[in-house]
């Protein structure tokens, strides 16, 4: 039986989502982040193109 560690009253940190290990891994995965880097650049260029008259 696992040890119960949370007997505190509800607090701020109880409610927001916490990233899983997989999410944290993907945030620094070089391959995936390279893909995201390209994707973010494309999105930003689109944003800039729409923002200038």
């Amino acid at each position: 039986m696992s040890k119960v560690i949370n007997r505190d009253p509800y607090e701020q940190a109880f409610y927001p989502p916490r990233p899983t290990w997989f999410t944290r891994y993907m945030r620094t995965s070089l391959l995936w982040q390279f893909v995201r880097f390209i994707a973010i650049n494309v999105k930003m260029l689109k944003l800039m193109a729409r923002s200038h008259d």
């Binding site: 701020q12 989502p17 945030r27």
Partner: protein
């Protein structure tokens, strides 16, 4: 030959100068007036404030650059605008006071054909008793010098933490009407990061305090983004970041007074509280720099040209209306001042018609709502539009030819949460448009395809790339014209 005078050499003022120089060359005269000797890439002050960059990494000498390209640079602060000239001068002019050490205190007049007010903000630490580096209780990262000082104080805290002391660090906004929450937001994560790198995070309590109604408001009323099969408010992600790093938060807060080691604040519900601290970086509220204006007869017309906040009135709709009647169309398009076709205001210097976040006040009547952000990408976009308009007006157009409404442009914000090429991360966020347009996008006010946010190493690469790209571009080194703003 026309003379264009640009007051201010920050992101917006220097952008106007760059583009006018590009398009007008030396056929017309460009004069830049700035009290600062150096240009500063302000977003990277965050890294100076945690000791990961030096002042030289984020600044360069303006006089050298402007001398190279033939722009007349006056290291001086602008005192007053005389848009109709005076009894002694038929031409409009500005009065300036030199801050260049060799001429410090000397005043001068500079006549102009076109004037661009890009003076940025006065850092209004005086609005909160005891706030700011001069009062000595809190630090700031609003200038490179402030950021250096912030890092000195932070290193003292880290040394004490290493010696086993327990310390409380507070980061956020120092007044109920502050803007620039993003800078504080980025700073708190970098403080957390350097404490972890120093191996002392367990001894530190880190607390966020801000005037936002909810985390992630950033003075833009928050954002909605598509994520994980839902359209979710940015608050969820901002809170998640805080929880992941063990940071506590206080929102809806107006800091009333700062004493050594103690912040007194009021909440939106009208209650009063105190927060103890050993280190606090609190952003001040912004105000106009205090420019005056006079008509030909010497009558003070400051109240006509400037809003009570000190920011310059432009082609916005400043009619006082209840929140329900605010519209994206209220926001300025050309940044031309009413009444004077040859005067423009860009960046933080223009007076916004109203808040972007919903107006709030406490049960005691204290306004506690973020002011609208006008920095970074929007600053550059409006600067380019004004430069184009001035170019075209010099060439014969009778009115401004280009627009850059914040209700029709996007903004990108990349907030690093730890600087490392392989292990660092950053929050990348874009919004389109900055000012929500509920007529065009009825549900969330924004284009949900161009409004997004994510956390990852890619954002850190992006932040580093922006740092080097924009400093290269600002130095007007070969090929700068090819780089996007």
């Amino acid at each position: 030959m026309a003379r264009i005078v640009i007051l201010g050499a920050g992101i917006s003022g220097h952008t106007v100068a760059r583009y006018l120089h590009r398009w007008l060359g030396r056929q017309h005269e460009i004069v830049v007036v700035s009290p600062n000797a150096k240009w500063n890439w302000i977003p990277s002050n965050i890294w100076v404030g945690v000791g990961q960059m030096t002042e030289d990494d984020v600044t360069f000498e303006l006089a050298k650059l402007y001398s190279r390209i033939g722009v007349d640079f006056r290291q001086a602060r602008a005192l007053s605008i005389h848009p109709e000239g005076s009894a002694d001068s038929a031409s409009p002019f500005v009065t300036i006071e030199y801050t260049l050490p060799a001429k410090a205190g000397q005043t001068d007049t500079v006549a102009y054909d076109y004037l661009v007010n890009a003076t940025g903000p006065k850092l209004n630490f005086g609005a909160t008793e005891g706030l700011g580096p001069d009062a000595g209780n809190t630090v700031s990262v609003c200038t490179a010098t402030h950021a250096l000082h912030a890092n000195e104080k932070l290193q003292e805290v880290i040394a004490a933490l290493k010696a086993g002391a327990k310390k409380t660090l507070v980061v956020g906004t120092g007044h109920g009407t502050c803007t620039c929450q993003g800078a504080a937001f980025e700073y708190i994560y970098n403080v957390d990061h350097v404490l972890r790198e120093a191996g002392v995070r367990d001894n530190a309590r880190i607390v966020w305090i801000s005037n936002e109604y909810e985390l992630g408001d950033f003075g833009m009323g928050g954002v909605h983004i598509r994520r994980g099969g839902y359209i979710t408010n940015g608050k969820t992600f901002a809170e998640s970041l805080m929880v992941e790093r063990g940071i506590e938060w206080i929102t809806r807060a107006h800091v009333k007074k700062v004493e050594p080691g103690r912040i007194h604040y009021e909440l939106l519900d009208g209650t009063f509280h105190e927060q103890e601290f050993d280190f606090a970086m609190l952003i001040p509220p912004f105000a106009g720099v205090g420019l005056k204006a006079f008509d030909k007869a010497g009558e003070d017309i400051t109240a006509k040209m400037f809003a009570p906040s000190g920011f310059m009135r432009v082609d916005a709709d400043y009619t006082a209306r209840p929140y329900a009647e605010w519209s994206a169309a209220d926001w300025p398009n050309t940044y031309q001042t009413p009444g004077y076709r040859n005067i423009f205001a860009v960046g933080i210097a223009f007076a916004p018609p109203h808040l972007i976040s919903k107006p709030m006040q406490s049960a005691n009547g204290t306004p506690i709502n973020p002011a609208p952000p006008r920095t970074g990408m929007p600053s550059a976009a409006m600067a380019i539009a004004v430069a184009k308009s001035i170019r075209d007006m010099i060439n014969g157009a009778d009115k401004p030819t280009h627009t850059a409404s914040m209700a029709k442009m996007g903004a990108a914000c990349v907030a690093s949460t730890g600087s490392h090429l392989l292990h660092g991360t950053a929050v990348t966020m874009t919004v389109f448009p900055v000012v929500p347009d509920y007529e065009k996008y009825p549900e969330y006010g924004r284009d949900i395809h161009l409004t997004f946010g994510e956390i990852g190493l890619a954002g850190h690469w992006m932040k580093s790339m922006l740092h080097y790209t924009f400093i290269y571009q600002a130095k007007m080194l070969p090929g700068w014209k090819l780089l996007p703003d």
